[in-house]
């Protein structure tokens, strides 16, 4: 199986969809020179300036333009250089992209892909390191996906571009340069389906994006302590593949949810609330959540390291779900 870096897998997906569908057009700041990380490098030479368009630094207008173009027949792919800058386009995302189909009673559809790059790495500070996916999963009408591997990065991006709804595709700069196997061909990976990346019987660890690798690291370490950990990669935060999660929770009866975003009000809260509501009485321990502390993202490498949860944090949570006496609920 050939190997690709995530950043190259993403470019490969963009190239194959640009070639396949004339309605696809890329919009973003500096994308003709490849953007800050090189995801779109060279595409303008192959597909021309009409389909790979540099935009001014006007996130609100560019997002609105992309929504309008999608609603009238095109399939735009907008790049928002840093996830922090979706704040400038929130009105267009929340009030238009997510609602046009519904408000017009189905007359309009918005086949739009929004590529964002989020997460803390390399000390970019509070304005360039946030993970804001909880907001977006809270908005009905938006789909949110977050790949952890080059194969899923390509497959999910292809699926997102072919999807008839607005899809936010979350990349992570710490994953851009990791290599991984990718299958031949350019088949989409279905949106809305989680993947069990490590079978286990004792505790289920649910995660996505960069945290999947860190969860696997914790799992191998815990295996030496005789704890068989199942690791699930959500891949899609909205819609959420709740059946896979409930099924695993019922099997292991212990669950930890880990994500890099702030724990407070994060996607983990929704997952914990759903699992405990639907598998109440079938758990031997409360669902524990591992997320960033409730503080803005600090700059200093020492503080940033503490801000992002690591394998020890996950392993600690897993151990405490096992240690806790399985309190049988009274009554």
């Amino acid at each position: 199986m050939p190997e690709l870096r995530s950043i190259d897998a993403i470019r490969d997906a963009l190239r194959s969809e640009l070639a396949r569908d004339p309605r696809v057009v890329l919009l973003g700041e500096d994308i003709t020179v490849g953007g800050p990380f090189g995801a779109t490098k060279g595409l303008v030479d192959e597909f021309g300036e009409a389909r790979v368009r540099n935009t001014p630094i006007s996130e609100a207008a560019v997002m609105g333009l992309a929504v309008g173009a999608a609603a009238t027949g095109m399939r735009p792919v907008v790049e928002v250089m840093f996830m922090d800058f979706i704040t400038l386009a929130m009105d267009q995302l929340v009030n238009h992209a997510a609602k046009l189909r519904y408000m017009t009673g189905g007359q309009l559809r918005v086949p739009l892909t929004i590529r964002v790059q989020g997460g803390a790495a390399a000390s970019f500070g509070a304005h360039h390191s946030q993970s804001l996916e909880a907001w977006l999963t809270h908005v009905p009408g938006l789909k949110v996906v977050a790949p952890a591997t080059p194969a899923d990065a390509r497959g999910l991006l292809i699926a997102a571009i072919r999807d008839d709804d607005p899809v936010i595709f979350i990349e992570h700069r710490a994953l851009y340069w990791t290599r991984g196997p990718v299958p031949d061909g350019h088949d989409p990976v279905p949106i809305g389906r989680a993947k069990i990346v490590r079978r286990g019987a004792d505790v289920t660890v649910i995660s996505y994006s960069r945290m999947v690798g860190i969860a696997l690291e914790a799992a191998t370490r815990l295996a030496d302590e005789g704890l068989d950990v199942e690791v699930i990669d959500l891949r899609s935060l909205a819609p959420l593949d709740i059946d896979t999660l409930i099924d695993s929770a019922r099997r292991t009866r212990r669950v930890v949810v880990a994500h890099e975003a702030v724990q407070h009000g994060g996607v983990g809260a929704e997952i914990a609330a759903r699992i405990q509501a639907e598998a109440f009485g079938e758990l031997d321990a409360p669902v524990l959540r591992v997320g960033a502390p409730f503080v803005p993202v600090p700059f200093s490498p020492e503080l940033e390291r503490r801000f992002v949860p690591d394998a020890d944090d996950i392993a600690g949570a897993v151990r405490s779900t096992v240690r806790r006496p399985s309190a049988v609920p009274a009554g």
């Binding site: 997002m63 009238t72 007359q107 009408g141």
Partner: protein, 310 residues
Amino acid sequence: MWLIRAFEEKVSEMYARGAVRGLIHLGIGQEAVAVGACFALEPDDLVVGGHRSHGHALARGADPERLLAEIAGRASGYCGGKGGSMHIAATDVGFITATGVVGGNVALALGASLTAMSRGGGQVAAVFFGDGAAQTGVFHECLNLASLWRLPLVFVCENNGYAEFTPLSAHTVVAELSAHARTYAMPTRAVDGNDVLAVRDGVRAAAALAREGAGPSFVECITYRLRGHYEGDPAKYRELAELAEWKEKDPVRRYEAVLAERGALGGEDRARIERRARDRVETAASAALAAPFPGPADLMTDVLSRPAGA
């Protein structure tokens, strides 16, 4: 123009009766802009409205019954009762959508014009917005982007001197809104927004430029709306004298006078046209109010392309 005037007065009456609810914005007094502009556009051109867009939809040929049904929240409404007055869409007649966010609609129209341009068939887009939108940042971003990419788009600005409740002068030092367009090297033209022929000519010239690939242009229509900012507002924030002066500039009466002068409109023709408009609106209203509300089953549809997942 009579159809729009009759329609808006019917909505106002239905609102007063409590037959319809929600936030409703009427464009009585601004019929000339809707009719004049839409008259100058082609059927397959793409039009985007604002939050005061009943007139724009009707001028594009939307069915008054399905429009009233939408305002009344009925299942037979254009949007199945889910959108309401501020979010009318009638894509079958090229009225892409309206939106309740001041200024937000202008960006959508940019997208429509990008689609039109990429199709290359000489299609153009047009967007209606008020002077309130001209204060928003996204509006200025749109002027820059449209001019930079030479998008085939006509900006139709209805300057009626008020943003929501406050006179324009309290919101900006820039009285003439087309000045903003000139900042971005965009051709502009000001027309009397109460003269339907002047609006038609202005928009037609602008659309012609766009069709030739010469990029966007800005048509500023100086108008005056006779009803309050939103239905239920007694419009007392205006001096009565100012109100009386503009009543005499009512676009419908002025156009009738022009036609009468040219001998194209006799006395009873005028009454017949008005009556036919009011009758058509009457039947539309009763049909709309008789239509059923949407049921819970309709609720979960149209959220995503497939039924809403977990």
